[in-house]
């Protein structure tokens, strides 16, 4: 099997695993996705020049991310990040951040 086929294979497997998890607004998938956020937003939730995003009601969290995605909320960083999150991924993140322990 060539390298390309191998790669596409693992990619497809990974995508299907992800898809299975994300349809449920799954906090486990949300936790993995949150790795992209914790570089800037502290997991402990304190605000420090970048706002805290922990323990928001899921609906507000979804509304904020949808606002960045549709560019009705300003900030190029968040527009780019939200721009490639699917609705299911946003739901998974909202579920994770609503329930995060710290």
């Amino acid at each position: 099997m060539g390298r390309g086929a191998y790669l596409l294979g693992t990619l497809a497997a990974a995508l299907s695993t992800g898809a299975a998890a994300q349809t449920l607004g799954d906090p486990a998938y949300g936790e993995y996705l949150s790795g992209e956020c914790t570089t800037c937003h502290l997991a402990a939730g304190t605000s420090n020049g970048i706002p805290a995003i922990t323990h928001w009601p899921a609906a507000d969290f979804v509304a904020a991310l949808q606002g960045y995605k549709s560019k009705t909320r300003p900030n190029p960083i968040m527009q780019m990040i939200a721009g490639r999150l699917s609705d299911d991924e946003i739901a998974a993140l909202a579920a994770y951040y609503e329930s995060i322990e710290n």
Binding site: R3, Y32, T38, T39, M80, I81
Partner: protein, 416 residues
């Protein structure tokens, strides 16, 4: 520390001598290099595997000094101490075995790592995140032996001698910088450094000059930097590009001269940032080609060894810049993949991002960023943004404040 290490090695030997003890059945991941890539990988592997993996981090330094924000130290906006981070929490709160030693060898067939102390550690998966080393002879007249006279200050913890030389410059003296060719760590780094040296000189030595000798035609955030230099430091900074001889520089550390286009000029400080390559241990392990370690874009797995992952500056991965942010992002993808391989946990699709902030003057921050996705060939850029010239002061200050938040965020993500 010697005591801790001995304890750790003793327990290791005990484990090896008694193969039936339970601890030994845990798969072991060794991470070489406790920087932006390695510390993040260690923390995520330990945190998310909840004890199912034996995570060993090999790093010679007791304290990691970030290169990020080291320019702000030169500008007087940060203390040097504020750049230092300890490994204690990774050991105490996450159960990571920190081995303060230098890795000197990798036996890929036997799957072992040799340390400078002479000890040998077996691994199931190995992660290399050693950062960069310099290419000998890339700047004529310069070698590591000359770094006291002409510092690079381009590795963590090495900026204090450069700062002392800048502070000791005679009134009206010249600070010269030899900028590196692509690819190198932190594309805007040399230009942010020139800005921060300018901030310092403007306050302390306002008739001093800055001379940048640059082998590149163009550089990261060029329009933003040049606009800022004209606005904040008019007449202070001159950049000589390849068209004017910037690509064929010779330096003379003994006489503190730089030779541009055959003409020798005496300077007071000379910051030589040489051409770069993957940190030595990557080539010692045999996972490099043409100076860098090629990796699969969906996992950061080496293209040359199925049990070795490479992260950060040392890699050749595609479109991501060599930054702390990139290394941190890549580490999380690799950690997820390694846990999948060793413990069967779900492997989610790889996603990467980067943002690089730069400070041009007090409260004048700019940023550039992009999101990335894997293709079979490389990590490919998906979407990008960059600050615009002419932005108002409030936006620039907000951008600077974001960078302060990011610094706390990423260092917490690395060290807990």
């Amino acid at each position: 520390m010697t005591f801790n290490r001995r304890l750790f090695l003793a327990s290791l030997t005990a484990t090896l001598a008694a193969p039936m003890v339970k601890a030994q059945t845990r798969p072991r991941v060794i991470i070489i290099g406790g920087g932006a890539g390695g510390a993040t990988a260690a923390r995520y592997l330990a945190k998310d595997s909840k004890g199912a993996l034996d995570v060993v981090l090999v790093e010679p330094s007791q304290t990691y000094y970030t290169c990020f924000f080291s320019n702000l130290y030169l500008g007087g906006f940060r203390s040097f101490e504020s750049l230092g981070h300890s490994y204690d929490k990774l050991a105490a709160a996450y159960g990571i075995n920190i081995v303060h030693d230098l890795a000197t060898g990798v036996d890929r067939a036997a799957k072992t790592v040799t340390l400078a102390s002479g000890n040998t550690l077996p691994y199931d998966k190995l992660v290399l995140s050693p950062g960069i080393d310099f290419i000998d002879g890339s700047v004529a007249g310069w070698s590591l032996a000359a770094q006291d006279a002409m510092p690079h200050a381009y590795k963590g913890g090495t900026q204090q001698p450069l700062q002392a030389q800048i502070a000791a410059m005679r009134p009206g003296g010249t600070f010269a910088m030899v900028a590196p060719p692509n690819p190198y760590r932190c594309p805007p780094g040399p230009y942010e450094r020139a800005s921060m040296v300018a901030t310092y000189l403007q306050a302390n030595n306002p008739t001093a000059k800055i001379l940048i000798l640059d082998p590149k035609d163009k550089f990261s955030k060029q329009a933003l930097f040049e606009e800022g230099w004209n606005k904040h430091y008019p007449g202070m900074i001159t950049r000589i590009g390849p068209d004017m001889g910037g690509s064929a520089i010779e330096v003379r550390p003994d006489t503190m001269e730089v030779v541009v286009d055959g003409e020798a000029e005496k300077v007071d400080v000379c910051n030589v940032i040489p051409a770069q390559r993957a940190g030595d241990i990557a080539s010692i392990a045999g996972v490099t080609e043409n100076n860098w370690a090629p990796v699969h874009a969906d996992s950061m797995l080496s293209r040359l060894d199925e049990n070795i992952y490479v992260l950060g500056d040392a890699t050749n991965q595609g479109d991501m810049p060599k930054s702390g942010f990139s290394a941190n992002s890549q580490a999380k993808v690799a950690a997820n993949h390694i846990r999948g391989a060793l413990t069967g946990s779900p492997v989610f699709p790889a996603k990467y991002a980067n943002t690089c902030w730069s400070l041009i003057a007090a409260d004048d921050g700019v940023k550039v960023g992009a999101s990335y996705a894997p293709t079979p060939e490389k990590i490919a850029s998906v979407d990008t943004f960059i600050s615009q010239t002419g932005e108002d002061a409030a936006l620039r200050k907000a951008t600077y404040n974001e960078s302060l938040g990011w610094y706390t965020g990423i260092t917490t993500d690395m060290f807990g």
